[in-house]
Amino acid sequence: MRNLISDSKFDFMGKRKLALILSSVLIVIALLAIVIRGLNLGVDFTGGYTIEVGYETAPDLDVVRSSLTDAQLPDAIVQNFGTSTDVLIRMAPPEDGSNDAKLSDSVLAALASSSESKIDLRRVEFVGPQVGEELREKGGLAVLTALFFIVVYIWFRFEKKFSVGSVLALVHDVVITVGIFALFQIEFDLTILAAILAVIGYSLNDTIVVFDRIRENFRSMRRGSPAEVMNASVNQTLSRTVITSFTTLLVLSALFLFGGKIINGFALALIVGVIVGTYSSIFVASTAVLALGITKEDLMPVEKEGADLDHIP
């Protein structure tokens, strides 16, 4: 038997003050980053254009910029994307009366006129301001809806205190992941939002495995304080928690390294989310349940299967 972690007896619950401090610091930093620096929202949410073109030889970005200025498109942000031959042009939606979607055609025409080498149109994304606003609302709503249904499910399957604990852990994960995007000003687009929802699913997955063991141990361990039962549970599931996170991180690294530029942010969000989610299912979800004063009585099996709800005071 190969064992990375065998028969561990870490005192996780004893370290809960330390965890609380660490989590609080991370959350404060994340919130500050979100409030002060703000999210670098992509065109999906702000409306506007992203145009990616490929040159045969690396172009001089100043020339590209001035050709756009000459074409009456002065507000474009021009930067390299991944390689020196790839150029990404971003523009806010026009405020004058020009027909929005056609602007990308004028950008291409302007680029073609300023360049000797052939230009390959790789991608155009145009999102109208109205659509951007809707996607923003929908996105926020999606995260809240997912959280709501998860709370209901856990309440139904476990108990109220677990439900609160898991949601605290999820909010913790989401805030920190989003905070990292704000801190480093990494573009936040629709795929990142999808990744955040996947993080919610993953982190919960982890949390539930621990909760499941806590419930089982509360019922089977005759002796032991709640803190001891919880410690035992986290330790028993630790090996699994670490291995699953490891395999998930393996595939995510593959996605991050080989999946291409478009999927890069998506993979990054998941990597951060998985790491934070693993930490939170050990240190946040369980300690929150403990802090809420979980007792053996909360979890003793009831007469009828699936009637756990009866225990809610």
Binding site: R123, V127, A198, Y202, I243, L250, L252, L257, G259
Partner: protein, 618 residues
């Protein structure tokens, strides 16, 4: 004896694995660039197929495969250069009015396999193409409906012999002004007979009496719905005219339409054609040169409207009432007018249009009739953070001529250049948009990026899978190999289900598969860790396996349900590519329950089941 597989379990696993592999198989063959010829509106004749085939064979392309399907003829090539050459070749030998030619990517798997299963669709981000989200201008749709009522009102007022009225849209309502209350009451009765969709009000103001009316909410809804439906039909026709294969044209929400055109690279042309509002109107000319000159100074008579001539910008008065609009044109083609040698559009009217044209021209032989070319453009502007739309309608008279004879179904119109005539006939054939549409979202992926996305998505999936397989085999040895097998089967099953659903694979979809690969082993990790615990606490090998699977099951189910919740929410709220991620995630979770729990158990049982003293390699 414990842990021995009943025969049905083995058969079930074998059946699922084999049929999954078979269904997923076509995806390995990929697709070939093809030229697709199909009949426009009606089936192609066998002659057309023969001509096209002969043209391609004569050109001497290598390794061409021909396929004949109902109203569709496909020629598959090995590379895109051949495909493009062949398209140009075919375009020369077919009659474009009845046949269309398009580029396509078609399933390259062998004949027998295609009868069993088809590969997944590749999303635009993987094959290149353009995605438009178009919004229908509903205000314009309602304005059109109001204009229809106004035309009816004017006609009825005139035929009742009432003069001195003003009938127009005023302050958001239809409004008719009369000099006398009796006239008003007389017409109100008339209007009410025909205007069932209107809510009427009356009002007196000094010397005038008014009828005011608004569309009922229900009628407005019907107008909006019909504008949306009509626009979808029109857009579909236009896309067909463009010669795009496998386009998607779908309603989204109450006032939007999604248009996806795989493989289209000339987005400028696509935008022009899709959003074009060019159409024709036929009107009688009003008065004489003297009246027109007078009108230039602002003296426009009540029944007339001032227009500009397209060629020299001079002014002309036309009757307010339209004889025939573009909607009533059933078919159109462009060509050369035999007499003048100038480009012409030949139009064919539908029944109602022909009847009206006949009636009007019969009454007006010797009078001039004009053809109005109208085009509207919608611009949007942000004013104080609120989006406003400005519709600019440009109308010009392309020609006018004396009616020499009674016209009915077929006639021709000159006054445009060749390109305009071509485009206009295309637009008339496809039908006019009932209300203007504008693009609120565009996503174009060039073919080079599409190919790169596929390559990178595929590579990352393979590398991820390989890493997990190696790690599992190293850590859990025989059990790890079993988990690896379950994982590979899981990926095959995801692809099989996607193929069966004919779902679209997108780049985030591939990411979903990759993520599932990482998460699917979780079930096996849970089970194996349980088995290890059981062994540590002294259980026999067989008991350890059985209770390991049993105890882990409920945990796995609980954990997966929550991920499923997140995935379902993502699916219901997401759009396009994000949906692709959600759907592969959902499918992956469900199939992993089967492979990781049921599949791995059957294998473990087959290896260790029933052996009393086996040492587990875990």
């Amino acid at each position: 004896m414990t842990n021995v597989n009943p025969l049905w379990k083995i058969l079930l696993l074998a059946a699922v694995v084999l049929s999954g592999a078979l269904i997923a198989l076509p995806n390995i063959f990929g697709s070939d660039p093809a030229v697709q010829v199909s009949g426009r509106n009606r089936d192609m004749s066998a002659d057309v197929v023969q001509t096209v085939k002969a043209a391609i064979v004569d050109a001497g392309f290598e390794n061409v495969e021909f396929r004949e399907e109902p109203n569709k003829f496909l020629a598959l090539f090995t590379n895109e250069d051949d495909q493009l050459k062949a398209r140009d070749l075919v375009a020369k030998v077919i009659d474009k009015d009845v046949t269309t030619v398009a580029l396509n990517l078609v399933d390259a798997s062998p004949d027998w396999l295609r009868r069993i299963s088809q590969p997944m669709f590749l999303g635009l981000d993987l094959r290149g193409g353009v995605h438009f989200l178009m919004e229908v201008d509903m205000d314009a749709a309602l304005a059109n409906a109001e204009e229809r009522f106004l035309t009816d009102w004017r006609r009825e007022t005139r035929s009742a012999g009432i003069r001195g009225t003003a009938i127009q849209v005023k302050d958001g309502s239809l409004s008719a002004r009369f000099r006398k209350v009796e006239q008003r009451d007389q017409m109100l009765e008339k209007f009410q007979e025909t205007g069932g969709d209107l809510v009427f009000r009356t009002r007196e103001d000094g010397e005038y009496a008014f009828i005011e009316a608004n569309l009922t909410e229900a009628a407005a809804d019907v107008e909006r719905k019909s504008a949306l439906d009509q626009n979808i039909v029109t857009l579909r026709n236009r896309v067909n005219e463009l010669g795009v294969s496998e386009p998607v044209i779908q309603q989204q929400g109450l006032e939007r339409i999604v248009v996806q055109l795989p493989g289209v690279q000339d987005t400028a042309q696509a935008k022009d054609i899709l959003g074009a509002t060019a159409t024709l109107e036929y009107r009688l000319v009003y008065g004489s040169y003297a009246d027109w000159a007078d009108a230039e100074n602002g003296n426009v008579p009540a029944g007339a409207r001032l227009y500009k001539m397209r060629d020299d910008g001079s002014h002309i008065l036309l009757n307010r009432d339209i004889i025939v609009t573009g909607d009533q044109i059933k078919d159109a083609s462009s060509g050369i007018d035999q007499q003048s040698g100038s480009p012409a559009v030949f139009v064919n009217l539908d029944g109602a249009g022909a009847k009206r044209m006949q009636a009007v021209t019969a009454e007006n032989v010797g009078n001039p009739m004009a053809v109005v070319y109208s085009e509207s453009r919608v611009d949007r502007r942000m004013v104080d953070g609120v989006e406003q739309r400005i519709v600019t309608k440009t109308e010009s008279v392309i020609n006018f001529a004396t009616i020499r004879d009674v016209l009915s179904h077929r006639f021709q119109t000159t006054g445009l250049d060749m390109t305009e005539a071509n485009t206009l006939s295309l637009l008339l054939r496809a039908g006019a948009l009932k209300a203007p549409v504008y693009i609120v979202e565009e996503r174009t992926i060039g073919p080079s990026l599409g190919k790169e996305n596929i390559r990178q998505g595929f590579l990352s999936a393979l590398v991820g899978l390989a890493l997990v397989l190696v790690f599992m085999a190293w850590y859990y040895r025989v059990f790890g190999l079993v988990a690896g097998f379950a994982l590979v089967v899981n990926v095959v099953l995801i692809i099989a289900v996607l193929s069966m659903l004919q779902a679209t694979l997108t780049l985030p979809g591939i990411a979903g598969i990759v993520l599932t690969t990482g998460m699917a082993v979780d079930a096996n990790v849970l089970i194996f860790e349980r088995i290890r615990e059981e062994i540590r606490s002294g259980a026999s090998v067989q008991t350890a396996i059985a209770s390991g699977y049993e105890k882990a099951f409920i945990t796995i189910a609980d954990a997966n349900v929550t991920t499923l919740i997140a995935a379902v929410v993502l699916f219901s709220m997401g759009t396009g590519a994000i949906k692709g991620f959600a759907i592969t995630l959902c499918i992956g979770i469900l199939t992993s329950m089967f492979t990781a729990i049921f599949g791995s158990r059957v294998l473990i049982n087959a290896i260790y089941g029933g052996k009393r003293s086996a040492a587990l390699s875990i």
